[in-house]
């Protein structure tokens, strides 16, 4: 059934694109061909891609189908190795430095900045793709560009959004979801009073915990380091973020300080919490289970509220594609990436990922996946609200280390649980950040 739908969609997308391009956008058509024919694979080239284990089977199928189409078109075999998402970072780092192994890697967050000099300069490809498809989103570009040079091609943002129970929100006296942090706090208070509380992880949840902590900090204007990489966590904005987190924590279901990544899903699907933040997977977990039909129909999603900083800022998860220097066939690798970003290919992939992956290029924002289900809509904005890790400093081992060591997660957890005063928690985070950015 999904195949039929995808075939139908790619067919219609092709027709629509054909109609448009034949008419007004002749230049764009020429450019679209440009990136596809910019790189000619070397004779006898083969490629190996190291990627994270797919979270959504449709995404894997679409990626593999695109890859097979590339092999068919060019004769270049592409072997895809999958590693569990936590293992991609060490494996890729070792491959980069040993100089053998996979030719390309689909990696997370700031990984390319851990070994920028071991990566092929892909500025030509990135610029061509950017021009063809309406430009890169700023946050995602930040994960791929060092100075004027692209060391990676942004692939997608894996969006995070508030998932809530519509009926519980209405029962709490809210007809619309509040857009700002103050209204959000009021909603959470009302939910708590109704016995249908919210819950966000304060435990060592790699994805959800970091998303929440970064949103708390950034929405209040805080930052870990300034543009030069000097520690800037000790600020009134951070204090405000912590005070807000404390107030919000009061409204949570008890036990969130022990939550790991899966706990909020479990609690939400069991009806124990009525509001949390998660990827779209939470919604799909509910739709797949007949017993959870009621919850699935009641789920609404929206973006995390806007704080004093005045705009939507979130961490999300980010993935990029990079080519190692030791790749013997860099032209083939670039041709492969260019092929995967051709409009119909990329659209099919985004479709397959059913809103799990948000496009890196603005030109794909009209992908039908975002309008096919209202639940998907907030995830479409992930790339736009995304801000690179370690804001406002440079990306690199320091920013990666601060996140992996849960410095922000710990700071908020220390303060909300009352283990330390907000000032002590900030001071402790300041020390730890300074260590990484020494």
């Amino acid at each position: 059934m999904t195949i039929n739908r995808r075939r139908f969609l790619s067919g219609t997308a092709g027709l629509a694109a054909g109609g448009l391009l034949a008419g007004t956008l002749g230049t764009r058509h020429a450019l679209a061909q440009a990136s596809a024919s910019m790189f000619t694979p070397e004779e006898g080239a083969t490629l190996r891609l190291l990627r994270w284990v797919p979270f959504v089977t449709g995404e894997e199928e679409a990626w593999n189908a695109n890859t097979a189409a590339f092999t068919e078109a060019t004769g270049v075999e592409v072997r895809i190795d999958q590693e569990s998402w936590e293992d991609v970072r060490p494996k890729a780092a070792v491959a980069a430095n040993v100089g053998s192994g996979p030719d390309m890697v689909m990696s997370w967050f700031d990984d390319p900045f851990q070994y920028p000099d071991k990566l092929v300069d892909v500025t030509d490809l990135a610029n061509a793709l950017g021009e063809e498809h309406g430009g890169w989103y700023e946050g995602l570009e930040g994960y791929a560009r060092q100075g004027d040079k692209f060391i990676a091609i942004p692939l997608c943002a894996i969006g995070n959004a508030v998932c809530y129970r519509d009926s519980h929100m209405k029962a709490a006296g809210f007809s619309e979801f509040p857009q700002d942090t103050d209204g959000f706090l009021e909603l959470c208070k009302a939910l708590k009073a109704n016995g249908t509380p919210a819950g966000f992880p304060h435990g060592k949840a790699v994805g959800d915990g970091n998303n929440y902590a970064h949103w708390l900090l950034w929405s209040h204007g805080g930052m870990t380091v300034d543009e030069s990489g000097a520690v800037a966590i000790n600020s009134p904005e951070t204090k405000a973020a912590i005070d807000y987190a404390k107030a919000l924590y009061e409204t949570f279901i008890p036990g969130t300080e022990s939550w790991l990544d899966i706990n909020n899903n479990r609690a939400f699907l069991a009806g124990e919490v009525s509001l949390t933040a998660n990827g779209v997977s939470l919604y799909y977990a509910a739709t797949k289970d007949e017993a959870l039909k009621e919850i699935a129909e009641d789920i609404r999603t929206t973006n995390l509220p806007i704080g004093p900083v005045g705009k939507s800022v979130e961490l999300h998860q980010t993935s990029t594609l990079s080519i190692f220097n030791h790749c013997k066939y860099p032209q083939a690798a670039k041709a492969y990436i260019a092929f995967m970003y051709q409009a119909d290919r990329m659209n099919a992939w985004l479709e397959g990922a059913s809103a799990y992956c948000c496009q890196a290029l603005k030109g794909f924002e009209n992908n039908p996946v975002w309008t096919s289900n209202p639940v998907h809509a907030p995830y479409a904005k992930a790339s736009a609200s995304l801000r690179p890790n370690g804001y406002a400093g440079p990306l690199g081992p320091a920013s990666a280390g601060v996140m992996a060591d849960y410095v922000l997660v710990d700071m908020f957890a220390e303060a909300v649980t009352g283990q330390r005063t907000p000032e002590e928690a900030i001071a402790n985070a300041e020390r730890r950040i300074a260590r990484y950015y020494r």
Partner: protein
């Protein structure tokens, strides 16, 4: 020209014929194995602790910098405290409960072999699986313990097993004890069975109470086994990783972070290989102390033979 082959032949001959030479040959594979898979990684770990190596990048020698930073790092000291607490409390509980269990199993019970067999179950189940089971038991919303107590009307809201620092520590220790008891119990049971029954019978004839027989006969004769078993038990507990990683990842707010889990967190996901190695190396003195204590402290002959110091 002809002397050389003759000499090499004679070395081979010496190797094969002399007692020491043959012994050396037989030992060689084991020695190579130990050197390659134990000494080299240990040496590399110690070296990494003195560098600022990151994953995939050679480090440069930074002397004691990692240790100086750790000395000043409250998270590290918290993990040292947690590790000590975890090891001491869990080991004492495992010893007391394990010895008790061994003494019971050493009696004539109905279905004795059956009980002896199933007692090993917690030890046989892979740690990750039992840890996952405990994860559900301790879940902040769906804990079976909370559920039962709430239905009995004893508590009004779920127990925050892994959220409160004290509770979290107690919970992970309980899970570790559950898992570690069988090893202690079965090993001590084996030790108990080596104690000649005639000694107990003779003491009983002389009018010794069962408590006197336990303290004057069983315990002293069991000490060598206890020393070995507890050394292993302490080492396993001290270096525990899986249980913590599944249950809390060191949370809440690092209250259950052990040195092993902190070392991993900083070294692999965090990429700071040098610092992670330094934390791991910092475990060595504690482990050595535990080994030395058990071997020189618990294995003193005099004490075992019932004499004073």
């Amino acid at each position: 020209m002809q002397a050389r082959p003759a000499r090499s032949f004679s070395i081979l001959g010496w190797l094969l014929e002399s007692r020491n030479g043959l012994g050396f040959l037989f030992m060689l594979p084991a020695a190579v194995f130990l050197l390659c898979f134990l000494t080299y990684p240990l040496g590399l770990g110690v070296w990494l602790g003195f560098t600022d190596a990151r994953i995939g990048r050679e480090g440069i020698f930074v002397g004691l910098e990692n240790y100086i930073w750790l000395f000043d790092d409250p998270v590290f000291w918290l993990s040292v405290f947690n590790t000590m607490l975890y090891t001491v409390v869990a080991s004492i509980l495992k010893f007391a409960l394990g010895l008790w269990l061994a003494l019971i199993l050493n009696q004539h019970l109905p279905f004795k072999t059956f009980f002896r067999a199933i007692i090993l179950l917690p030890w046989v189940v892979p740690t990750v699986l039992s840890a996952l089971a405990f994860w559900w038991i301790y879940d902040s919303q769906f804990s079976i313990i909370s559920y039962v107590l709430m239905n009995l009307g004893l508590i009004s809201e779920p127990i925050n097993f892994l959220g409160d620092p004290g509770m979290a520590r107690a919970s992970v220790i309980a899970a570790n004890v559950w898992r570690g008891i069988p090893f202690v119990a079965i090993s001590l049971l084996a030790g108990l069975q080596t104690i000649p029954q005639s000694l107990n019978e003779a003491a009983a004839l002389d009018g010794a109470t069962s408590w006197q027989r336990f303290t004057k006969i069983t315990l002293p004769l069991l000490t060598p086994i206890i020393a070995v078993v507890m050394t292993f038990s302490v080492l396993f507990t001290f270096t525990d990783f899986q249980l913590i990683y599944v249950l809390t990842r060191g949370g809440p707010v690092n209250a259950t972070h052990l040195m092993a889990t902190l070392s991993f967190q900083r070294a692999i996901p965090g990429g700071q290989l040098g610092e992670g190695a330094a934390i791991a190396v910092a475990m060595i003195p504690f482990l050595l102390a535990a080994i030395l204590f058990s071997f020189f402290g618990l294995q003193r002959r005099k004490w075992q033979q019932g004499g004073g110091d």
